[in-house]
Amino acid sequence: MVLNLTSYSPVDFIPYTREIYYSLLANSLTSQFSIHLLTVFINFVWIWAFVKRNLSIQFCSLALLWFICGYYFYGNLYAQINWIAPKMSWACYIQSLVCLAFVPISLKFRPENKSVLTWIIFTVFVALGPAAIWPVYQVMDWNALGFPGLNSTTLWLLTLSSYLSMPSSKSRFFAMVPTLPLIIFNLMRFYVFHVS
């Protein structure tokens, strides 16, 4: 389904209310708890790999998380209420493949010095992310808390941290292009829900 995008405004891409969106996340937590548990486990694996400076395991974890995000969240859950969701899942699959491609590349590399920026992003995500993000989103139910594997924005932050740990980080940054549209979309949703 190709679109004449000039025929649409931001609200056309968000055809649901904020309450329905959050209840979708909350319902999924109770009905698909095992998937949430799996993503939480993989998040901890990523954190462990980040602390141990093991990039290949980081990218392996990210590949899995992007696949889960694409298949479960965009392809199944979010697709119930948004026509554009199945297209977004393809961005996640491509990002997953890119992360997978970095696994062999990063096998022999061990970051010597952590960049300041990487640690800032990591700290913000782990320590402050949920607390910072959810009051802003005025979440209706804490069951609707999103985390990497379900929420593409926080997963993008994780991915950015790993890429910034690689040598020649500036060029590696372009490996995040597949999911850049998702982040723009999430910002658009924030605009529709909270600003417009």
Binding site: V2, L24, I81
Partner: protein, 294 residues
Amino acid sequence: MLPVNRRQLFTLALFSPFLASSKTPKKRALPKIGMGTWITFNIGDNKEAFKQREKVLKEFFSQGGGLIDSSPMYGSSEKVLGLLLPRVKEHQDKLISASKVWTSSTSMGPKQVQNSLHLWGLNKFDLFQVHNLLNWKDHLKTLNEMKDSGKIHSIGITTSHGRRHKELIEVMRTHPLDYIQVTYNVLDREVEKEILPLAKEKGIRVIANRPYQGGPLIKELKKKKLPSWAKEMELETWAQVLLKFITSHPALDCAIPATTQVEHMRENMQARLGKQLTSSQREKISQEISKLWS
């Protein structure tokens, strides 16, 4: 001299309307207020919202509603409608079903119509429209074929937010249409210039979407007390003011406000009743609301 006698001529004249109607289906009576489902019925699996929408739908029909408009673009709205319609079986004869084809792929068009029929649980649609003029040339051809085969009663084309009006006018001039759907409300009167007169001239029915500008207009007005000029026109609520303005236009056949609240549905449907407004009353409403809105 024609090779027929007077008796044959008389018989032809007597039966010709019935012969003509096999290709031009009779227009169904259309209540002035219908219901849109953009956002409001896109509720996924939310059980609480489902129960609420059932109440809204029952109120809609019991207050004399008919046309329900949806689209594949509206997420789970068609699926939710399909689940709710059997719960309002007693009202189903009042339903005037309207959906849309929304794909750039010509071959996907018939499949989308079939899918919509399946989701709504219907054998036939009263109205099927080309959504936002997307691939209208091929889809109008498909819809006409489906109309001939009896799957669709009427065909139409839609746009919103004032987009692609020139293209819409071109389609109206060159292709036979039963309906158009456009944005028309007290603040957005663009279609009065050319589209509504053309629709009237061609005998095309007009459905107005975004009667409340997507919602902000009525939310803002409801914060203010209903002025005396509205009461003089026998309008009791802001919903009646805004909807009567639309449906009193001579070329306008139906407005499709969307709501999730039973009370709002009741207010919307009250706009069906009472006298039509005169053109001077409509102008008065337009001026007063423009002042309030600015």
